[in-house]
Symmetry: C2
Subunit: 189 residues, 2 copies
DNA sequence: TCATCGAACTTGTCAATGACTAGATTCGGC
DNA sequence: GCCGAATCTAGTCATTGACAAGTTCGATGA
């Protein structure tokens, strides 16, 4: 199966479709996604993507599952909750398409096995990070601190991706700004 | 022009379409929105909505503009940044469709006049709230506190709407939980 | 009263899309 | 070199968004 052009078998059509889909989503959002357009980009027939992903929802579900896998890998062995937050924001910036799809449930097949397992894994790494609350003398509720940290990181990432922080932040490095934010949340006072 | 059924003129088709659209978006997200479906629900021809909103993007832009107007009204004369945050979360829960569309820029006509003016107004009320940082002795950067508060509120609201907090929160009242979160961010320590 | 003009709505049409079916080609194991 | 299964193609149908042209209504003014 030479990789040369115009083979009947693409070689790695699944990956090619996924990559093209991520490009489109990053640039124009999930609503601009068209299976036929992706097929054209990959140089295959209009029904070829369906073989790998079943339908549009299947493609988006695969993207979300992949995203949760990537997020879990990103979050493993983060030193503490604060660093986990920084990594969370970095993940959103480096994988904006995954991030956006992961948190748009109405686009996904929620009972998909790959999705649920990947999400469960990511949730576990997230919980591990929460259990390692940064040093602060007082007994803050760990559960509450976890929700706070997740909300702060998720909100910051979301506002960043929707271009709502370019005004107030100017040209500062987002990760640096976010690190300062965690300082407000986790100060030892 | 009696309101009786089957008049040639609907009476308030624009509002009817908007309301139906908000229903659909709340239940199935913006991607499930179909102009023809909205027309059917309103009992008018398939091209009637276009007369009021030009196209799908126009409808969504109108929803976003209305959302910014509602948000501005919600945020005016909030006592301090903390209360503004609580109101922000409440707005997201009471107007989930507006909220979702407002922060999905790729669905909107960004240069639309109504949208930009409504957004500017909401931004101003938001800035007013930020300038009223709750009492905390130390000189925290107001700009940073504003970003933190917005991120926290926006993240909490987003995770809430995407059903990602039902696990950790149980059946607690979301607003109460969020109020506790602001306590972590704005403590006087 | 009535002509008129614009707004609101309808009807018809076209290209594009998602989903489905049946069939062709190729790969890998034996 | 044979065969089953995976991969991809080709064709079709219902639905949709967008557009064009025509119809109905109602408010305004003479």
């Amino acid at each position: 199966m030479s990789v040369g052009r115009r083979a009947y078998h693409h070689g790695d059509l699944r990956r090619a479709i996924l990559t093209a889909a991520l490009d489109v989503i990053s640039a124009e959002g999930p609503s601009a996604l068209s299976l036929r357009d992706l097929a054209r980009r990959a140089g295959v027939s209009h029904a070829a993507p369906a073989h790998h992903f079943k339908d549009r929802t299947g493609l988006l579900t695969a993207i979300a599952a992949e995203g949760y896998g990537l997020l879990a890998a990103t979050l493993t062995d983060a030193a503490d909750l604060r660093e986990a937050g920084v990594r969370y924001v970095r993940f959103a910036r480096e994988h904006p398409a995954h991030f956006q799809v992961m948190f748009t449930p109405e686009l996904l097949r929620e009972n998909d096995l790959e999705l649920t397992t990947a999400r469960a894994l990511a949730g576990e790494t997230l919980r591990n990070a929460v259990s390692a609350v940064p040093s602060e003398g007082r007994g803050t509720d760990a559960r509450l601190a976890g929700i706070a940290a997740w909300s702060l990181a998720h909100g910051f990432a979301t506002l960043l991706l929707s271009h709502n922080l370019t005004g107030p932040m100017g040209d500062q490095d987002p990760e640096e700004v976010f690190h300062e934010l965690t300082g407000l949340l986790f100060r030892s006072g």
